[in-house]
Amino acid sequence: MSNPVDLDAIIAASPFHRFLNIRAEIDARGVLAILPVRDELVGNVMLPALHGGSVAAFLEIACLLQLAHETGTASPPRAINISVEYLRPARREDTYARARIRRLGRRVATIHAEAWQRDEDTPVCLLQSHVRLPSGFSARE
């Protein structure tokens, strides 16, 4: 499947995505999102660990990128709600994420994402997201 959506352009169109310096690569499994570590993302200087808010925001963006990649639609959906689980502290290291669309309706999509650092099988954070799809949205078959 050729992908007409330019993820770099989607990231570039969001000031907050640029603030987080999100990177995205596409491979056979979908979008691999990358949050490069930097000191500003730290929430606990004692551990040290990344702020839960930065990791959750990163996962929410990973959901949007996977949605854009799979549907070929660049127009952004609107956040309805999120549910985040923190499994373990995110170390002061680069963080990676993949998202999976669990349901794509006409108006609402349900997307799950996981973040990890050294080992994909040891996730640091899980996120479930519901988004309101843009009007006129149609899932590409």
Partner: protein
């Protein structure tokens, strides 16, 4: 009878009434790198309650041309307000960590609007605090987001 299988039955109150006001709670806003990077400002705190302001900033907008703060920015604000509420009540005897957090986005914030978030602990056990939080742009009666969270407290005292 208490036992290890019971869930914190040693605390039968809401656990909040026992909290004391921590005069240094504002530090967790002022000295946390990510809170500083987003421009969070300490507003107030009291035992089990915390309020933080996030002034609008162009580089925190979700989408070019909308002037509306990204939802992910609110996530950090809400999470941090919850942490403040706990630290305000327990001081430095706890090292709280978010267990889970659920956020409902009721409506988009107004363009160029700063957001205030207020969180409160409605129940604290020996190991867990349960919190609710609201975030608003104009009035707390008309929130842009509502949240519910559970934190592990990691109290420093034994057990």
């Amino acid at each position: 009878m208490t036992g290890d299988t019971n869930f914190d039955n040693d605390i039968r109150t809401d656990g909040v009434a026992d909290m004391i006001d921590n005069p240094y709670a504002s530090r967790m806003v002022e000295y946390t790198p990510y809170a500083v990077a987003l421009g969070m400002q300490y507003v107030s705190s009291s035992a089990g309650r915390g309020t933080i302001l996030l002034p609008w900033r162009a580089d925190l907008v979700g989408q070019d041309g909308t002037d509306i703060l990204a939802p992910g920015v609110l996530t950090a604000l809400i999470d941090h307000a919850c942490g403040l509420a706990i630290m305000a009540g327990l001081g430095f005897e706890a090292a709280p960590a978010t267990l889970d957090l659920r956020i409902d986005h009721m409506r988009p914030a107004a363009p160029r609007a700063s957001i205030t978030c207020s969180a409160h602990v409605y129940k604290a056990t020996r190991t867990i605090a349960f919190l609710r939080a609201e975030a608003w742009d104009v009035s707390p009666d008309d929130p842009v987001a509502a949240a519910q969270a559970a934190f592990t407290l990691n109290r420093r005292e034994a057990k």
